[in-house]
Symmetry: C2
Subunit: 574 residues, 2 copies
C-alpha cells in the first residue's frame, strides 16, 4: 500500500468531519484554541521554545537554516525581532530562481499522477506534523518576526491557520471529485453504434508562487499552498523579508513529509529575498509561473493582478474596514467591543476596523441620544483604558511589526491635528517582558467627511478615524463607498432598526465586505472562523479570491481527456 493511501486512511475521519463543517459552516476545529489546552502543554511549549532558540544566531554569528533544496547560491536574512529589537541571526539559502522552477517542474509529474487520496493523505499529514511537532516553535517564530502576541501567534497563526489549510483541502477535493475519472459512452451514428471508453485526467497548472506577508504569514500561505499542492501543482514560497522564519519552518515540514511519502521534496521550495534586492516581479513574470497567490500591499497586489497573465492570480490585499454606528441598546458594551477589536495586534490585521462613521446628530441608545462628540470621546476612553496597563496592553496590542508603521503614525497624527482633532495620542508602552519591544498605543483621530484624503486608503497600523457624517443613511453610504472603492474585507454595523440592518446587509454585500452586526461580548469582532466565515469576497479592491470557496481551487487544475473505442464489442446493425 502506498504511504499516501495509508496517510489518507489515517486522516480520513478528520477530513470527513471537515467536509461536514464546510457544508454546514457550524463551529468546529480538531485543535484546541488555547495553548494551555494543547496536549502536555508545558513540555510542548518548552520544546517549542527550545526549537525556536536553536534557530537563532549566537554572539553575533548567524546560523544557517538548513534547507536541502537545490540552486543555493548564498545566504541571506536580516530579520529583527519586534520584541527585542535584535537581529534573529538566521540566514536562509538564497536560491537561483531558475533552478527552483526547473526542480519544481521536475517534481510535478509523479505528484500529479498520484491519486487524489494520496495527495490529500500526504497534505493532511503535513497539517498533523505542523500541529504535533512544530506548533510552539512556529508560535515563537511568528512572535519574533510578525510581532504578534504569544496567544495570537498560537491561535491565529497556528491552529486557525491549520484549520484554513484543511478547509482548502476539502474544497480542492470537492472540485476534483466532481470530475469522474472514467466513463463509457455509447451512441448511434446512423446504423452503427459507437462505444467509447473515456478517461479524464486532472492536469495541474504547473508551478505556483506563494507570496506571504509580514504580519500574518501562515494564515493565508498554508491554505494557498494546500490548494495548489492538492491539485497537483508545485509551490515556491516567497516570504516577506521581515518574516521568513515561519515560512522556512513550514517549507521544511512540507518537504520532509512529501519526501517521506515517496515524492520529490522540490514540490515545495523557499525563495527568500531582501528589501534591497526584491525578486517578486521576476517570480511573477517568470515563464514557468502558472499560479500566483499573494497577500500583502494593495499596490503590489494590483500590479500582480494586472501583470500575472498568463498565470492565474489569487490576491488578498487590504482596505478600509468600516464601522457604522447608527443606534444601539447598550452603548458601553458596543464601545468596549469596538475598542478591543481596534486594539487587537495594534490593528495590523487585514480585518481591523479603521473608519468609524457616526451620524453628526449622535447615536440613538436605549438611554436616549448620545451626541457625536460624546460617543467619540467614550470610544477613545475605552481604547485608552484597554491600553493603560502595560500587561494588558502587551496581550492585546503586542508589538508594531515595522518601523515604517511608527513613521506613518506620526505623519497621520500631524495631519489629523491639522485637519481634525486628535482623540488619542499614540505613545510607546513598555512591554513587561520585552522592554525593547517596538510598541505604540493607538492613534485616534476625529474628523469629518471633507478629509477623506486622510482616511480614504488603508493606513496599516493602530490608527482609526471617527468620522462625523450626515445621518445613518449617509454613514452607510460613505462606509460602503469606502469598501467598494478602496477595498474592505470586514464591516461592522450597530443598529436597532431592522429595516436599516436589511438595507445595510444588501449594501455591504454589493460593496463586497463581510458584515458583522450588533455583536458585543467576548469575541473579537473581526474573528474569522475557518469552515464558517468566508474571508475576502473578491468584489472590491481588497482582493480577488475568497478563503475558501470552489473558485479558490477549481481553476488550479485542468481536465484533459482521452477517448478510444471501447474494448467491449462495437455492434453494427445488419
Amino acid at each position: 500500500m502506498h504511504l499516501g493511501d495509508t496517510l489518507f486512511e489515517q486522516h480520513q475521519a478528520r477530513l470527513q468531519r471537515a467536509r461536514q463543517a464546510c457544508v454546514e459552516r457550524a463551529c468546529w476545529s480538531p485543535f484546541p484554541e488555547l495553548p494551555a489546552r494543547y496536549p502536555e502543554a508545558a513540555q510542548a511549549q518548552a520544546r517549542g521554545s527550545a526549537a525556536f532558540q536553536a534557530h537563532l544566531g549566537q554572539d553575533g554569528a548567524s546560523r544557517a537554516f538548513a534547507l536541502s533544496q537545490p540552486g543555493t547560491t548564498g545566504t541571506l536574512g536580516a530579520e529583527v525581532s519586534p520584541y527585542t529589537g535584535k537581529p534573529l541571526g538566521v540566514v536562509y539559502p538564497q536560491a537561483d530562481i531558475d533552478v527552483l522552477f526547473d526542480a519544481a517542474q521536475k517534481a510535478i509529474p509523479s505528484w500529479a499522477e498520484a491519486t487524489i487520496e494520496q495527495r490529500l493523505g500526504v497534505l493532511m499529514e503535513v497539517v498533523e506534523r505542523l500541529y504535533a511537532d512544530h506548533l510552539f516553535e512556529l508560535t515563537h517564530a511568528v512572535m519574533h518576526t510578525a510581532g504578534q502576541s504569544y496567544n495570537m501567534a498560537y491561535a491565529g497563526s497556528g491552529v486557525n491557520a491549520l484549520d484554513r489549510a484543511i478547509e482548502a483541502l476539502v474544497y480542492a477535493e470537492q472540485a476534483m471529485q466532481a470530475v469522474t475519472p472514467h466513463a463509457r459512452w455509447e451512441r448511434q451514428f446512423g446504423s452503427s453504434t459507437i462505444a467509447l471508453d473515456k478517461t479524464y485526467r486532472l492536469v495541474p497548472r504547473g508551478v505556483a508562487v506563494c507570496f506571504t506577508c509580514a504580519s500574518f504569514p501562515t494564515w493565508n500561505a498554508w491554505p494557498s499552498m494546500m490548494a495548489s499542492l492538492a491539485t497537483g501543482n508545485a509551490v515556491i514560497v516567497k516570504p516577506h523579508p521581515a518574516t521568513i522564519l515561519p515560512m522556512a519552518i513550514s517549507v521544511r515540514v512540507f518537504r520532509t513529509v512529501i519526501k517521506q511519502a515517496g515524492f520529490d521534496p522540490n514540490l515545495v521550495t523557499l525563495a527568500p529575498d531582501t528589501v534591497q534586492d526584491p525578486i517578486g516581479k521576476r517570480l511573477v513574470q517568470h515563464s514557468k509561473t502558472a499560479i500566483v497567490d499573494f497577500t500583502g500591499s494593495v499596490a503590489f497586489g494590483q500590479w500582480i493582478e494586472r501583470n500575472a497573465y498568463p498565470a492565474l492570480a489569487f490576491t488578498e490585499t487590504a482596505g478600509c474596514n468600516t464601522v457604522v454606528l447608527e443606534s444601539v441598546d447598550d452603548l458601553d458594551a458596543v464601545l468596549r467591543s469596538l475598542a478591543t477589536t481596534m486594539c487587537m495586534f495594534s490593528a495590523q490585521m487585514c480585518t481591523s476596523p479603521q473608519n468609524i462613521y457616526i451620524p453628526a446628530l449622535g447615536v440613538r441608545t436605549s438611554q436616549g441620544l448620545v451626541p457625536f462628540d460624546s460617543v467619540a470621546r467614550q470610544l477613545a476612553d475605552a481604547v485608552q483604558r484597554l491600553t493603560a496597563d502595560p500587561k494588558k496592553a502587551a496581550m492585546i496590542l503586542a508589538t508594531i511589526q515595522s518601523p515604517q508603521t511608527l513613521a506613518m503614525l506620526q505623519q497621520m497624527r500631524a495631519q489629523g491635528a491639522a485637519h481634525g482633532q486628535v482623540l488619542l495620542e499614540p505613545k510607546p508602552y513598555v512591554h513587561p517582558e520585552f522592554p525593547d519591544a517596538r510598541t505604540s498605543t493607538p492613534l485616534m483621530l476625529q474628523i469629518d467627511t471633507s478629509q477623506r484624503a486622510l482616511y480614504g486608503e488603508e493606513r496599516f497600523g493602530p490608527v482609526s478615524f471617527v468620522i462625523r457624517c450626515g445621518d445613518g443613511a449617509d454613514a452607510l453610504a460613505q462606509a460602503t463607498n469606502d469598501a467598494r472603492t478602496c477595498g474592505g474585507l470586514t464591516a461592522f454595523l450597530y443598529s436597532t432598526d431592522e429595516d436599516f440592518i436589511a438595507r445595510a446587509e444588501r449594501a455591504y454585500a454589493h460593496a463586497g465586505a463581510q458584515l458583522t452586526t450588533n455583536l458585543t461580548g467576548a469575541m473579537p469582532l473581526n474573528f474569522a472562523a475557518a469552515y464558517s466565515d468566508y474571508h475576502v469576497t473578491g468584489l472590491n479592491p481588497a482582493g480577488n479570491a475568497a478563503l475558501t470557496s470552489l473558485a479558490f481551487v477549481a481553476s488550479r487544475f485542468c481536465i484533459a481527456q482521452s477517448r478510444r473505442p471501447s474494448r467491449a464489442i462495437v455492434a453494427s446493425k445488419p
Copy 2:
C-alpha cells in the same frame, strides 16, 4: 407561487437527468439528434423556414429586427448568405453601449435576489422555448450566416448547443449549492458563549459581455450566457458582424422568457457592430464589464486575456489540431475517418484536424509497412472521393463562411507548392441547391518539418498539412509541441502499440489537447458530446476555459456574508 418556481418544477426532471449525465458523463440528450426525429418534423421545419424568411429584407429594402431594448441609436447589419451570395437584408438596433450597461446593471438586483431555483427555472424555460419554438428558424439563420449545412446547423448549432446550455446550468447550480445559505455558529470565548446566525449571499460579478464567433455562434454563446445568468449576472451579447441573426433570435427569446417570468428583460441585450466600426475593445474595457466570454481569433482572444482585467475572461480561440499516424490495423478505415473529419464543414470548426504527422518511413499496418508517400496519396484520394460528388460535398463541406478563407487558401496553395507538394488542389464545387454558394474543396499539402512556418499556426478553413517527420516518437513530439505552443483543442492518434498510446495520452494531456485514439467508423472524429466531452483544457493557447467544468462557473459569483448574534439566547456561564 413565483413563475420561476413553477418553471423549475416543470423542468426539474430534465435538470435532474442532466445532473446525472454530468456526473456519469455517459451519452444522454433530451433532444433528437436528427431533424427528421423532431416532433411533427415536417410542419415544424416549414414553420422554421417561414420564420427565417420573414426576417429577411425584400426587394432591396432592409427589414428591421424588432428588439425592444433601450439605447437604440440607429440600425446596422450587412450579413451576406454564404449560400446565395446575397445580403440577408436584416438590420439590427445599433446600441448606445453606456445605455446597455446601465440597463443591465439596473436589471441585476432583482434577478440576483431571486432564488437559485427561480433563475434555473427561467433559464431551463429559455432552453425549452429555443427548442420548441425557434429551432428550425435558428437552423436556417445559422445556415445563411455561418454557412453550415442544414443538418449541422440543426445538430451542432441547435440541439448540441442546447445540451451545452443545460450542462452550464448544472455546473452553475452545483457551484452555488455548495454554499449553504444560512448557518448557526456557536463557540466559547473564555467563560461566555457566542452564538451567531450567519447568512451567505451569492453576489453576481455584474455585467458579462459575450462575444460570439462567425462560424459557430450558438455552441459557445448559449452555455456562456447560461453560466453568467444562472449566477445572477446580466449579459450583453456582441455577435460577429457576419453572424448576427442567430444571436438576435436568441437574445429575443431570452428577453421574452425573462420578462414573462417577471424579471427585467435588459438582463440580456444585443450590441452588434460592423467590420468597419468594431466595438469589441470598448466593450471589454468598459468600466462596468465584469466578465468577458470570448470565442474567436487567437489574436483578439489573447488581447482580451491580457486586457480584460479587472473583468474575468473566459476564452476559446483556436489552434493547430494534430493527427499522429503511427501504426494501424485497417489503413482504409482510418483514412476514411480522417478524410471525413477533415471535410466536415470545410474544416471551419475549432476541432478540425490540420497537421497530420506521418513517420518518414511510413505507417505500420496489418498488411505491412505502407510508405509515407503512399499514405499521403491515399488520404488525399479519400478526401477527393468524398468531395467529388456535389451532392455529397454539399452535405459534408457546406460553404466557406468568409471570402478571406478563399484568399488564404490561394496563398497557402502557392506557398505549399513552393516549399512542398500540393496533394489536392482546392476548387469550387457547385452546390446542387445554391449554385451561387461560396464553396471550395479542401487544399492538402505535403510538406516536411522544415516548413513549420506554414503549418505552425491555425489556417482556418479547408487546408491540411501531411507532414513528413522522423519516427513515431518524433511525430508525437512535433504534434504535442504544436498543441502546447500554438494551441490545440483536439488531437487524433492511431497506433497499435499500447506503450506508445500510453505515452501519447500523457504527452497530449500535458500539452492540453483532448485526445481521440484509434477511432474509425460513423462518428466524426471531432464530435464533442455535451455532458461527456470537455471542450478546451485551458492548458494551451487555444483558450483558458473548458465547457464545462466548475472553473467555468465558480468565479462568476462571489459570496458575501453577514452575521449577527443569534436570536436564540446567548448563554453566559456563571
